[in-house]
């Protein structure tokens, strides 16, 4: 009973808003604001004929690859910088400067250099996502207990093993947090780069439909991207909770 009222409390407003939108737009004469029913109808059609699925798979694989590159580079560099104080101090202002560049401004340059294809999208995502991962990894490696470090030194743990089995697991919660921050940034950059110039993907679907004045398609593409972004972010935080169960249980925080 209590859970039911709780669910109702959480749902009534979103449902009401969607219903309002549905009916308010039902007889819309504004060319640019099509009825919600029509937007959803178009979305359903393009899902069944595979257009949207294909666009999604291309966009999402670019996003995943970009994020993967960013994670590998960010974690590796982050661990090195975290363990070498001098290097960290020297590079600090540069890292902060590069991180401050609005990532969307990089998109035209990256596309200009690497062309229309997937490579430019992957690089754009990677370049935008690497910074939060890098900075969080540095934080994480700095957070590894002094005692643990000392033990590793006393037992003469080899360098690589030390990184792999001590610093990396110790920094893991921060690394995951970094990826969680990077994910929405990556989605935004993916969308921007596809909207800027592309011939496949969700951004292309939106761009193409708006330039050919198929307005409901534009709306459905935009909403779909939004929903996908939302699902990815929520999904990641669920996975994150699973992976880091030990961390939350140990009460380290």
């Amino acid at each position: 009973m209590r859970t039911l009222t709780n669910v109702l409390w959480r749902l009534w407003l979103p449902v009401l808003l969607v219903v309002l939108w549905w009916f308010a737009s039902a007889n819309s004469t504004n060319l640019f604001v099509p009825p919600l029913s029509r937007i959803l109808g178009v979305m359903g059609r393009d899902f069944t004929n595979g257009v949207l699925l294909q666009a999604m798979s291309s966009s999402l694989s670019n996003l995943a690859l970009g994020l993967l590159i960013a994670s590998v580079v960010g974690v590796a560099l982050g661990l090195i910088l975290g363990e070498t104080k001098r290097l960290r101090l020297i590079l600090d202002p540069y890292i902060h400067f590069v991180r401050s560049v609005p990532q969307s401004a990089l998109v035209p340059l990256i596309i200009g250099i690497f062309g229309l294809g997937s490579a430019s999208k992957i690089y754009a995502v990677a370049l935008a996502c690497v910074w939060p991962i890098l900075l969080n990894t540095i934080d994480g490696s700095l957070g590894v207990e002094v005692g643990v470090r000392r033990v590793s030194r006393v037992f003469g743990i080899p360098r690589m093993l030390y990184y792999r089995r001590v610093v990396l697991p110790g920094a893991m919660p921060q690394v995951i947090a970094g990826i969680r921050v990077a994910l929405p940034i990556g989605i935004v950059v993916m969308v921007v780069s596809e909207l800027f110039a592309s011939n496949v993907g969700l951004g292309f679907y939106i761009l193409h439909s708006s330039s050919t004045f198929r307005i409901p398609e534009t709306w459905s593409g935009a909403l779909l991207v939004g929903v996908i972004g939302y699902v990815l972010v929520i999904g990641f935080s669920l996975i994150d909770r699973q992976i880091l169960a030990w961390y939350h249980k140990s009460g380290a925080r």
Binding site: P102, V192, I215, Y230
Partner: protein, 268 residues
Amino acid sequence: MATTTTTPMAFSGRPSVNWTLTFQRVITLVVILLLWQFALMSGLLPKITPGVPDIVTSIFTVVTMGNFWVGFGYTLFAALAGWLLSCAIGVVLGLLIGTVRPLDRSAALIVEFGRAFPTIALMPVMMLVLGATTNMKITMVVLAAVWPVLVQSILGSRRLDPGIVSTATVFQIPKGLWFRKVLLPSALPFIATGVRISASIAILAAVGVEVLTQVPGLGRLITLAQEAERWDNALAYLFFAGIFGWLVASLLGRAEGRLLRWNRQSDD
């Protein structure tokens, strides 16, 4: 987007200059620039990449050009207006949602959805509805930048100490005064984080809209320079975009440190 990291170095204005470190930093910069130049000459970088001297020259010529300042002005205006609106809306709504229980439960899903929604996806739709105007740009900025402030304000208002609540109740502090002088300052450390994140998102969104549309601004200049194959100019604009973002971040960090002096002290 609730967490970002700041390394302790960034915002602590330390009075004494460490000359060795500064020297090492300068050397590192020189090495990076030399590497760039060598990579270019050896053909590792694409042919169209401009050399270091070209970029440096561009940085100096660009500052003397009127259209740079006009473009910069447009970006600054839209980002600033959108950011201020976001802060006002986010703080008021956030404090309300955070303290009024029924509102909190009803709005939870919308807030969760809104903060995870990649707002930039709505750009083409906004273009259709509002056209390629400054208003559209500001709307986009608000839609993107309001969430961190909102979420942080909600978190901040939940943090209000029960002891403080009792005190305010016993001394019969009226609602309006309570809101302004108790709830708001208490939530301020959290709000400040939201405001800071929101500022960089505002810049990101403003530039993003400019890159994608014909709306004038720094992002538009970069696109135009790229289309005209003036890579040196494009990189110069990018450099200033970075300086802008960095300036805003460090100014806000410093303001936060000053404004929230009480918070750091009372935490220990």
